[in-house]
Amino acid sequence: MWVEYYPTGEMTGDFFMKPLQGAAFLKFQDQILNVNKDDLKQQQMLNVADE
């Protein structure tokens, strides 16, 4: 095992230890769930349909 430095803006662990919002939240959400643009489009269309 080894330890490496990782910059704050890229630290995925931040998602689980402090409340994020906006672009940072979406960025890490995409990384953790590994969602793609099609998934997000489908969800947006469903939300519009619900409204």
Binding site: M1, E4, Y6, T12, Q31, N34, Q42
Partner: protein, 173 residues
Amino acid sequence: VSHLFQVNTTNPKKLDKEMGDMFHQNVAKLLFLCKWARLDLQMAVAFLCTRVKDPNTDDYKKLARAMKYLYVTKTLPMRLEADNSGLVSWWIDGSFAVHPNMKSHTGGTMSLGKGSPYSTSKCQKINMKSSMEAELMVVDDVIPQIIWSKNFLEAQGYIVNDNVVFRKLNSWL
């Protein structure tokens, strides 16, 4: 969002027995969900779990917000992919004294390529005197899982060449 860890201690309106039970039940349901498919809810649920004994209306609003988020993102999938590098990556970090009892919070996640098969978000068990100590406590919290995951993956026939832990605190390195 930024006031997630803030608790109203000056003039809290406590939930009655019926609402309190409902709050507890829904947090338990979210707890199940956030460990399986909705890791993005894990930190909010970790906080709500600390409030089930004595919830107030502010906590209820936070639960409602989590439920709304879940509703508008209900079709989001979770995809896990493993590459052939044999490298298990861990990102771990902590925030100092964010809880009302001045305890710190541990957060960490692992990846075998894409997606996150395991992640953790929890309040630390003991109080720390500095952010430096909190960071060390994060390692203490997560290291057993790092070792266990390596052993588990090897027992499943997956070749683990090494673990890499990503940190952002230079002084810890």
